[in-house]
């Protein structure tokens, strides 16, 4: 599923970055790569950005909806 469709609170794994060099560069500059775990924290209204926690660094990052649509993620099972 797309990152833009993930409900708040869910943990996901980044499986694919679509959209070529631009999106990849933008994400990699902030240390986000394929295979990283992300938790969606908040989703701003008015089709605003999505707030994620990048689990490997613990950094909080806001990602615009347009970019979030090009990030493909898979849900991660959190039940112990």
């Amino acid at each position: 599923m797309k990152l833009s469709e993930v409900p708040a609170g869910k943990l996901v794994k980044l499986s694919l970055i679509e959209g070529g060099r631009g999106v990849f560069l933008n994400l990699s500059r902030l240390g986000i790569f394929q295979g990283d775990l992300l938790r969606v924290l908040e989703s701003a209204p008015f089709r605003g950005p999505i707030l994620i926690e990048h689990i490997p660094t613990g950094a909080k990052i806001a990602i615009g909806r347009g970019m979030a649509r090009r990030i493909i993620v898979e849900p991660v099972d959190e039940t112990p």
Partner: protein
């Protein structure tokens, strides 16, 4: 002995400017949001008996640049003669920060790693083994908390005595082979001209960076070199299934994670962090907006009340003096000039400073706490509707302090069109000088609700203009991605220094202009030259806006500094009791015009530098026509309502 040149380089919001200010005295603005520094600042100072030249470079995420700040930093690091690079990293996001560190090592310059904000890292449960990290990277590692001045001496001593070139990270064999192959075909003599290491150049070429490819094309063996580059990059692309630059980024990322694992231990914090708890409300889709309104409301009220309180005490003696001089000034030039002088000085102390001090204080506080990127998050969606980018929020908020740094801060926008539109709109944000006019005229005589309404009205107009401009300059909005930093409570002393740094600009540059203009004004009115300017402007002032003819000169001089409109207004009206000379509607119309027309000459000068003459003229004409239109409409509506 030649001073030692030390450059501070690091990712955005890693605290370089804070460190710089701690080392060099307060010389540059810092804030808890990414991208505060867009140009570089140089300062000479002495450390441990050695003369040092410190350079604060703009924050960058990597050396493969994509925006202006990255280009500034990279060009500086490559082309300038630097003795030591201090790589400032935010220890709380170490694994990410290391990506730049690895690239800096490739520059093969003496390096020191400064682990800043180690207190924050510890709170997050990240324990860093400095010695191990130093061993892996081959450079000295020093922990600091720049905002509290901790570890500064150790850092400087390491920079002076222990900086080393470090161990260059090695990638997987196939990539190393490709880099080596390119390095082998590069002629030795080009490095006499190009100031960087062969390995660095080989990597950039393989990544396909235009700037370097152009450089190689100029060589006689250029074609041959580029053939090898293309072949090797192609090989990697085929075997890895991704372009070379992607593969390299991923390799570097893997190296960083590996180094992080070797040198750090992560122990999970026992309870939920206050940050997360706060953000659940501050960034909440509904509560977040209420919180924003409350914060802005409190700041507005505090600035207004504090300003009124201080102003009422300070202005009294000056008022008394002016009253005594008033009758004398008509007869003698000396008294006339004296009155101008007192009005200039008194206006600075009594009218401007009381509002300016609290306003600048709160802006500095808001910046450093780390609230602004959260506001950008909340407003991005709304901003898109008016054709703007969420990142534009930061120049906008800075604009409430002063439009000039806000204009410079538009550099954080990568797309030229976004930048142009934001720059044009920033000029309409009421800067502290205009806020002083709003608070001291509309606030004081019509009441705080009117002043607040004027701020909202201003935002509404900006939104409409944004939509209009986006229609005129179409272009797709770039993608939004922004680091949301952790909250920090900077020591009050630091905020105080920052406020003073901003105030200093007013005291040293603006105040003399105000006093000087006030003197000129007295001179003009003594020789009755002001009548000429007033008559010239009367179609606007009297005809369109319905104001007394005498305000013409105030608006004319207001282009120098917006505070002048207010100070000269008391001057030309001959009283600080404005309502005796102007009706409420006139006060409102005057203030509205002042709010919207040309920010000031400094703004125009900087706009010229940043965007060129054409757009500066656009901005000038746009603001003048918007101001005239809105203020005259307001006058028409007001005549019916009041």
């Amino acid at each position: 002995m030649k001073p030692l040149r030390i450059a501070l380089a690091g990712q955005l919001n890693s605290g370089k400017s804070t460190l710089f200010n701690n080392l060099a005295g307060f010389k540059t603005l810092s804030g808890n949001f990414p991208g505060t520094t867009v140009g570089y600042t140089i300062s000479k100072t002495r450390f441990l008996g050695r003369e040092v030249e410190l350079i604060d470079l703009p924050g960058i995420y990597s050396l493969s640049y994509s925006d202006i700040a990255e280009k500034v930093t990279r060009d500086f690091l490559l082309k300038e003669d630097i003795d030591v690079v201090i790589n400032v990293v935010d220890a709380s996001v170490l694994s990410r920060s290391l990506e730049l560190t690895l690239q800096l090592l490739e520059l093969e310059k003496p390096l020191v790693l400064c682990l800043n904000m180690v207190d924050e890292a510890r709170r997050k449960g990240i324990l860093i083994d400095e010695e191990k990290l130093s061993e892996v990277l081959g450079v000295p590692v020093v922990s600091t908390v720049a905002v509290r001045g901790m570890g500064i001496v150790e850092l400087m001593s390491a920079a002076l005595h222990k900086a080393r070139k470090g161990i260059i990270p090695r990638f997987h064999k196939d990539i190393e082979d490709a880099i080596q192959a390119v390095q082998d075909v590069l002629p030795r003599d080009i490095f006499e001209k190009l100031p960087f290491p062969a390995r660095f150049l080989a990597i950039r070429l393989l990544e396909g960076e235009e700037e370097y490819i152009e450089e190689i094309k100029k060589l006689k063996e250029g074609e041959e070199i580029l053939k090898v580059v293309k072949e090797k990059a192609g090989e990697i692309e085929r075997t890895h299934g991704a372009p070379f630059s992607f593969v390299l980024s991923s390799e570097r990322h893997a190296l960083c994670l590996d180094i992080f694992e070797q040198a750090c231990k992560v122990v999970h914090p026992p309870r939920e962090r206050i940050d997360d708890l706060l953000d659940r409300y501050v960034m909440h889709p509904i509560a977040g907006y209420f919180f924003l309104l409350i914060v802005l409301g409190i700041v507005f009220l505090l600035v207004f009340k504090l300003g009124n309180l201080i102003g009422s005490y300070v202005l009294l003696p000056f008022d008394g003096l002016t009253k005594i001089l008033q009758p004398l000034s008509q007869r003698s030039l000396l008294f006339s000039l004296l009155q101008g002088l007192i009005e200039g000085i008194g206006g600075g102390i009594g009218i401007v400073l009381p509002y300016l001090v609290p306003l600048l204080f709160f802006i500095s506080l808001l910046e450093d706490i780390g609230y602004l990127p959260r506001v950008a998050f909340l407003l991005d969606g709304l901003f898109h509707r008016i054709g703007l980018h969420g990142k534009s929020v930061i120049p906008f908020v800075l604009g409430y302090g002063c439009n000039v740094p806000a204009l410079v801060a538009t550099r954080i926008l990568d797309s030229p069109i976004d930048r142009l539109i934001t720059s044009l709109l920033v000029s309409f944000i009421p800067c502290s000088a205009r806020s002083v006019v709003i608070l001291a005229l509309v606030g004081a005589y019509l009441g705080a609700p009117f002043a607040l309404a004027l701020y909202f009205f201003n935002l509404l107009i900006i939104a409409l203009l944004g939509k209009l401009l986006r229609g005129l300059f179409p272009g797709s909005l770039e993608a939004f991605i922004m680091d949301i930093p952790t909250y920090k409570m900077p020591p009050l002393r630091y905020i105080g220094k920052k406020t003073w740094f901003r105030l200093y600009e007013f005291v040293v540059f603006a105040w003399p202009v105000i006093i000087f203009a006030s003197l000129i004004m007295s001179l003009l009115s003594f020789y009755k030259i002001d009548n000429f300017i007033n008559s010239l402007l009367s179609p606007l002032t009297v005809g369109a806006l319905g104001l007394p003819k005498v305000v013409g000169t105030t608006l004319f001089f207001g282009i120098l500094r917006k505070e002048l409109t207010l100070i000269l207004l008391t001057n030309v009206l001959g009283t600080t009791n404005i309502p005796a000379a102007l009706s409420h509607l006139q006060i409102l119309v005057f203030t509205t015009f002042v709010l919207f027309y040309v920010p000031c000459v400094s703004f125009l000068a900087v706009m010229w530098r940043e965007l060129g003459a054409k757009y500066t003229l656009y901005s000038f004409l746009l603001s003048l026509s918007v101001a005239t239109l809105i203020a005259s409409l307001l006058r028409l509506c007001g005549t019916f309502c009041f």
